[in-house]
């Protein structure tokens, strides 16, 4: 998706890993990614980008050069959770859903909470505060390759609307 969005009108910011600075108030600050974009051959074909050098002889992913790279940090406007669905679209998460998502096992927010050394009530307060610092949505899209474009166009439209 990142490669396909980068092919259209969006600057490549990161893939897989997003570095967040949560130290200030207001929206967390996102730092442009340090990892090179890598795709399987079928992913590159689907995104319509040229597959470059192989990552390793025993690992068939290919490096892909994004058309343009972001260089400056940007405030996080929205966090969207990707979910497989029959139709592409976005829904806004409620406060309870936002807190639950931030508290989920796979979220690296646990590292942040551990560093804050808070008890259970403190954790709840931190998550409640963090959940208010940016919008959160669920992004639904079909995972079928022949409907890939549907998800991309929905995401692109949503990003542009969110950016105002």
């Amino acid at each position: 998706m990142v490669a396909a969005l980068g092919r259209s009108q969006f600057v490549h910011f990161c893939d897989d890993t997003l570095l967040l600075d949560l130290s200030d108030i207001g929206p967390p600050l996102c730092h442009p990614g340090h990892k090179r974009l890598k795709l399987w051959p079928d992913g590159a074909a689907l995104a319509g980008v040229e597959a470059g050098d192989m990552v390793a002889t025993h690992y068939a992913k290919h490096f892909v050069a994004p058309p343009s790279l972001a260089e400056e940090p940007l405030p996080l406007a929205e966090l969207s959770l990707l979910t497989q669905a029959e139709r592409a679209g976005f829904t806004t998460l409620s406060l309870g859903e936002r807190i639950a998502v931030l508290d989920a096992d796979h979220q690296s927010v646990r590292l942040w909470l551990a560093a804050r050394r808070v008890d259970r009530a403190g954790r709840f307060a931190e998550l409640a505060t963090l959940s208010r610092r940016f919008a959160m949505t669920q992004f639904f899209r079909p995972f079928s390759p022949n409907r890939f474009a549907e998800g991309i166009s929905t995401a692109a439209k949503h990003i542009l609307e969110a950016a105002g």
Partner: protein, 89 residues
């Protein structure tokens, strides 16, 4: 009068846009309260007994107290069971 009150030492809460999220401190589980559940939670402030709470909620939603009593009682039972609400004279 047996007033319904919360035990603030047993939970943490936060609210936005009419939604209240409550976390009992002993379990760490979250409860999301919206609409009438959030209204009931807000009306439990230590000054109302069950009948007064029913009356206030019925007035707020334009309903007869008898029509909403069963659902309110069920929700109050859940809150008591979770240790979030108690009755005091």
């Amino acid at each position: 009068m047996t007033a319904l009150s919360k035990d603030p030492a047993r939970f943490a809460e936060t609210a936005i846009d009419g939604e209240v999220v409550v976390m009992p401190l002993d379990t760490g589980d979250f409860f999301s309260l919206t609409a009438t559940a959030a209204a009931i939670w807000r009306l439990i402030d230590g000054t109302r007994d069950r009948a007064q709470l029913l009356g206030a909620l019925a007035a707020e939603y334009g309903a007869e107290p008898s029509a909403i009593a069963a659902e309110v009682d069920a929700f109050l039972a859940q809150l008591r069971s979770a240790g979030l609400v108690r009755e005091s004279a």
